[in-house]
Amino acid sequence: MTELQTLIGTVRIRNPIILSSGIWGSTYSTLNRAYKEGFGAVTTKSVGLNPRKGHPNPSVIYIPEIKSILNAVGLANPGYDAFSEELREINHEVKYSVSIFGSSSTEFQQIIQHMDNNLTGNTPIAYELNLSCPHAKKVGIAVGTDPNIVYTIVEACKVRTKVPIWVKLTPNITNIKSVAESAISAGADAIVAINTIKAMMIDIHIKKPVLGNISGGLSGQAIKPIGVRVIYDLYERFGSEIPLVGVGGISSWQDAIEYILAGATAIQIGSALIDYDAPQTLVHNILNGLNEYLSREGKSFSQLRGLAHE
């Protein structure tokens, strides 16, 4: 399937379907497996400075009626030090990006520097800055809705590493274009959107929020029309100036194409893995659907990007 090779800035991946952060990607074995099962690239779980056990459970609830997931994992991770050891075990052919969260530009710098030093044997294709997690204090959305902070963080990361910097944005914002603009002018190599949408659920018998953290983020099919609009708006504003990675509710080849037509260069998939015993089926269905679509339309993959704007 050479025709699905995708270029995200300077990064070439074998196909445009990427495993999104926080799904599977906590261990080297799942990252290896996901790549083996067909993803064009894989993203790690977001990693921060210190070990974090995350929020109490329930922290991940599936809502079948709307084929969506409500989660407040709370960025559980073993800290960048232990995690870089984990990532050293990733097979060399696997294209992976490391998702990072932090509360300040120095935190991001510190993590990136450490990763750069530790992962020399198998460099990630990108660092994906999680400026968008909606359910953790002082990080994620807390730093991702202020254009100035976004600028400072991205700039700080860019001076520290040659690895491309991708910036993952939140839809929980009045004007996503202005933070994207900051990120781009600070040198971001790609924009990833969207992270989950602030949401919660209350149990009417116990009369308490279900999530251990009270509130969390919604992902899955419910948010697809919201994610498509974000990508469309970003492409409308920035055109092909910056690669866009579309994420949110993608579960079929049609969904993937919708994002590409809206302006995405590539897409990520998370919640949809719930519907498949092996992601292999999901990824292959999407790749086959994409290929058939391209030959029906007589177009190359790169020609599809942003076509809905014409």
């Binding site: 926080g22 290896n32 070990p51 459970n57 995690f83 018998h205």
Partner: protein, 282 residues
């Protein structure tokens, strides 16, 4: 996806019955609403939510008529201890059944090996084998001490063969159940019977069992329930419970694995991962 009916959003039910099996272990009963038809498989588990505290994975200990469901919880830490402080009438949130359960298989003899709390899910497979098959059933039931041989009375009331063992020798054989297993398999080699092995207990013990069944080339006929790991989502998404090696999850691909699969799991019996994903030795 598994087409089995499943509760995904915690369903809050009152504890209809609560029986202490030992000092730190109790069996909780709940009545499932009539229309759910969950048809759980032995070895599957539920996520049990203690509102205001946490949610933990607990194997189905028994179910009657798809209605009266039981869980046996042993106090190990904060949440399990708090469960034991609850009373009849209190509300608990249930979601499940999750995971991959035990296969019934067509083998003539079922050897069941329980270590400590591992008896809970095995209780369910035992009653299922009794009611649905004609198999000869042999239970090797081990615990640290006599008081922790839960369900002894109930199991003694069945027709199955039981061999008890305790670490401290306070009841039955003084030693690990693995020793008895080895003996039995040795004798079984002489007879011409086929065997299926069902086991649940501390991962170290399961590792011992795997080594033994390997010697007898029985790894494909041995099923292991790994009920000793951190679980968060229950449906294979969040990455918390994935095992090293081929990248299988406990919560969805497991908790029951066959021995030949377990062999590919590189951290089996040696390392676990806690809630933040870091490894700890078992």
């Amino acid at each position: 996806m598994n087409k089995q009916n499943r509760i995904e959003i915690p369903l809050c039910l009152t504890i209809t019955d609560l029986v202490f099996e030992g000092e730190k272990t109790a069996t909780f009963s709940f009545h499932l609403p009539a229309n759910l038809e969950l048809d759980p498989i032995p070895g599957q588990y539920f996520m049990l939510w203690l509102p205001g505290d946490d949610e933990i994975p607990i194997s189905i200990s028994q179910i009657e008529n798809n209605e009266k469901i039981q869980f046996t919880i042993c106090s190990k830490g904060q949440t399990s201890a708090n469960f034991l402080r609850m009373n009849k009438g209190d509300l608990v949130g249930l979601r499940g059944p999750y995971g991959n359960g035990f296969d019934i298989s067509d083998k003539e003899v079922a050897i069941i090996i329980a270590g400590g709390m591992g008896i809970a899910p095995l209780r369910f497979i035992i009653s299922t084998l009794i009611s649905r098959t004609q198999k000869k059933i042999l239970l090797i039931h081990g615990a640290r001490t006599h008081d922790e041989l839960f369900f002894k009375e109930e199991l003694n009331n069945t027709d199955i063969d039981i061999r008890y063992c305790t670490d401290d020798g306070s009841f039955g054989f003084h030693g690990f159940p693995t020793i008895i297993l080895e003996e039995i398999l040795q004798k079984a080699q002489q007879k011409n019977l086929s065997h299926e092995i069902y086991s649940c207990g501390p991962e170290k013990m399961l590792k011992g069992i795997l080594d033994i069944v390997n010697q007898f080339n029985l790894e494909k006929n041995a099923q292991f329930s790994l009920a000793d790991r951190y679980i968060r989502c229950g449906f294979g998404i969040c990455g918390s419970c994935y095992l090293d090696g081929v990248g299988l999850s406990i919560c969805r691909d497991g908790p029951v694995f066959r021995g030949d699969v377990l062999q590919k799991i590189t951290d089996f019996g040696s390392f676990g991962r806690n809630a933040n994903g870091s490894k700890y030795p078992l």
